[in-house]
């Protein structure tokens, strides 16, 4: 449909009072704007020290029905997971992301946990993944696709458990983008997750667990305290 393309671009340029593409200094200015990644206003509520950011993240996340368990070290994570499973009467089968960020956690301390690794096929009750980062501003997890972080684990299991380290919490979305750019090319999908799935489509009544996870649980490892 290159005819469509040229016609559309032609009409746009005509409306903007130009005959061809932007060029010269104007083009250089636009290219520079794309490179610069200038930030706009970042809400003042995020102007806190590291400990304050973790507190803000937890407060905002809990405000959107995310549950959070704070543990002092990776060693505390298996017990936190077991406690979550018991609290909600869940089985011990866990589908876990093949993510090396989850490897320093001594899951074997809880031999009752039956852990398999890989993507979800929709038959998993509990999925466990590691966060890439998290945004304190709104209690938002930043996750992305990749060989070690299947997207299906974020959406198919009824229970999504995310392991997050306090050192990964940033102020704003823009900080998350900088971290991701530092890693190289954009992954296929970047998921900002703020609470479990929800719908208000029946008489504006809020209900959790529409199509995605019914529950979102975060195990927050306070790796900056020690």
């Amino acid at each position: 449909m290159s005819g469509g393309r040229d016609a559309v671009l032609g009409r746009i340029r005509k409306g903007l009072g130009r005959t061809g593409p932007v060029d010269g200094d104007q083009r250089a200015a636009l290219d520079a704007r794309l490179q610069k990644h200038a930030r706009g206003i970042i809400p003042e509520r995020t102007a806190r020290d590291r400990g304050g950011l973790a507190d803000l993240f937890v407060e905002m996340a809990e405000g959107v029905q995310t549950s959070v368990a704070r543990v002092a070290s990776p060693a505390g994570a298996p017990a936190a997971l077991a406690e979550y499973l018991a609290q909600h009467n869940l089985g011990s089968d866990i589908r876990m992301a093949p993510d090396e960020k989850l490897n320093d956690i001594p899951w074997q301390d809880r031999p009752t946990l039956s852990i398999t690794r890989g993507r979800s096929d929709g038959n998993d009750e509990v999925g466990v993944t590691a966060a890439f980062s998290a945004v304190a501003e709104t209690g938002t997890l930043m996750l992305h696709s990749g060989p070690s972080s299947p997207t299906t684990l974020n959406f198919l299991p009824d229970n999504h458990v995310v392991v997050l380290r306090a050192s990964e919490i940033v102020r704003a979305y823009e900080d998350g983008w900088d971290l991701l750019r530092a890693k190289g090319k954009m992954p296929r999908a970047v998921n900002f997750v703020t609470g479990p799935s929800r719908s208000g489509d029946i008489e504006q009544t809020l209900m959790l667990g529409a199509h995605g996870p019914r529950r979102l649980h975060i195990i927050l490892i306070e790796d900056e305290n020690g």
Binding site: V8, L34, G40, R119, P187, N191, D201
Partner: protein, 477 residues
């Protein structure tokens, strides 16, 4: 989509008599309106963020060709394809070709107003492909054979009992005696039915809230997660988006996202904000094998450089309709086309013509609430006035109205005549109505007195009273 905007007046009568609709609309003030006000109050920077969002979009529109070409380049760099569609028909055909290339039987759909605008579902059905809406509200109205009546809450006009009835008719695979009384039970049933549809679909179609030039990303914002299952599970992900959705960078999108959810539902951030960049990589364990973006123009490019350019800033949050007293009284269907409420009153004449939609810009009290809450600061009342003038200039308004306005304009431009005529009229009406203090009917004012009494004037005009109180001044006095 076919328009019934021409029959706006009949549509409103039907809407006002529809008790289910009136009960559904009654819940809007306590929901969306209160929630938005609270969200705005919690963020001291909210007003400044609105200015910033407006400026970003203005900058983008002024350089729209550059940002669209950059977007295209970056989608292709990540292995996706961009298709340019000048018209709705082009867009439908492009999407059909993609579906037929994999012999698709069913497609799942995330919520997309652009898909409504191009009438995609009906077209796919004609071509033996079954479209399955997956947003709960969209799913309900698809089963009911209706169109969305709100851009973010498509089934806002449907009450729970109607949903129960609809599910009982459609989901014959379940026990007819099952309980569906609780909204939770309805949601769980829809979740069960749709979960299988997600896995069975050959193609997933979503809209886009933003397109990002810098990275070639498409962005969707949902609360249910349906858009994510729609785009992650099938072999092909098709994004259909209108061209004004583009913004320069991830930072620009992040800035506008700060006002989107707050304006729409009053949430700080929606549950899922997803940035999609091309098909799955060779080493990825999941995701679609193909990624297509269909860029729709459908008349938008013609708006650049005109009075209407400002409507292209719209991010489809729905705040204008949530706060509109006219929408609150008649709901969305009465507007007769895809986009209801104040934004629809401006977009519809823009996109399908003033002749078809001339009633819509009149469906306003000019109270200005829409402009007050629009996160992108679109001057909706000003644009409605523009279309009123346009419809007058093009002689689309009825003769009686034109003649009446002509007479009024003649008199209003002659102050002495105006004062004499109004003074005489007030004395007469004042004398006639003195006994009862009101009129139950008045010649030539049936439109008013059919619904309410007309208070009798006290016998003197405003100007006479103003003058009597010494308020009258002339320049230089």
């Amino acid at each position: 989509m076919e328009s019934t905007s021409k029959q706006f007046k009949q549509n409103t009568r039907v809407a006002l008599d529809n008790t289910a609709l009136q009960s559904a609309l009654g819940k809007m003030e306590s929901g969306f309106v209160t929630n938005r006000a609270n969200a705005a109050a919690r963020l001291p920077e909210f007003e400044a963020l609105r200015d910033q969002a407006r400026d970003i979009k203005n900058h983008t529109l002024e350089n729209l060709d550059f940002y669209l070409e950059t977007f295209e380049e970056n989608v292709e760099a990540s292995g996706g394809h961009v298709h340019w569609a000048a018209t709705a028909e082009d867009a439908r055909q492009i999407i059909l070709d993609i579906c037929q290339s994999v012999d698709a039987k069913t497609v799942t759909k995330g919520k997309s107003m652009i898909a409504e605008e191009i009438g995609l579902n009906a077209f796919l059905e004609e071509n033996n492909i079954e479209p399955v809406e997956t947003d709960l509200g969209e799913y309900i109205i698809q089963l009911r054979n209706e169109t969305p009546s709100h851009i973010i809450a498509p089934a806002i006009h449907v009450v729970k009992d109607q949903v129960i009835e609809t599910f009982q008719e459609a989901h014959t695979q379940f026990d007819p005696a099952r309980s569906l009384e609780e909204p939770r039970e309805l949601l769980d049933e829809a979740r069960t039915v749709l979960r299988q549809r997600f896995f069975d679909a050959d193609v997933g179609i979503t809209g886009a809230n933003f397109l990002i030039a810098e990275t070639g990303s498409t962005v969707i914002v949902t609360n249910e997660g349906n858009g994510d299952l729609t785009q992650t599970l099938p072999k092909i992900h098709v994004v259909v988006a209108s061209l004004e959705k583009v913004v320069p960078t991830l930072e620009d999108a992040s800035a506008i996202l700060r006002v989107l959810a707050r304006s729409a539902t009053g949430q700080e951030y929606s549950s899922y904000t997803t940035f999609s960049n091309g098909p799955r990589r060779a080493e990825d364990p999941d995701g679609p094998e193909q990624f297509h973006v269909v860029l729709l123009d459908n008349g938008r490019s013609e708006l650049l450089g005109t009075e209407s350019q400002e409507v292209l800033r719209c991010i489809r949050c729905g705040a204008c309709m949530n706060h509109c007293p006219v929408y609150g009284a008649i709901g969305g269907h009465a507007y007769g086309w895809v986009y209801p409420g104040p934004i629809g009153s401006v977009l519809t004449p823009t996109l399908i013509g003033v002749e078809e939609a001339r009633h819509l810009p009149n469906a306003s009290t000019f109270c200005g609430r829409c402009e007050e809450v629009c996160p992108m600061r679109i001057p909706l009342p000003k644009l409605m006035r523009h279309f009123r003038e346009k419809s007058f200039e093009e002689k689309l308004t009825p003769t009686a109205e034109r003649t009446g306005l002509g007479i009024w304009a003649f008199v209003a431009r002659r102050p002495a005549l105006y004062q004499m005529a109004t003074g005489l009229a007030m004395r007469m009406l004042g004398a006639l109505g003195r006994r009862r203090g009101l009129f139950a009917s008045l010649p030539m004012a049936g439109g008013w007195t059919a619904h309410r009494d007309f208070p009798a004037p006290q016998g003197r005009t405003f100007q006479q009273q103003w003058s009597a109180r010494g308020g009258r001044r002339r320049a230089g006095e």
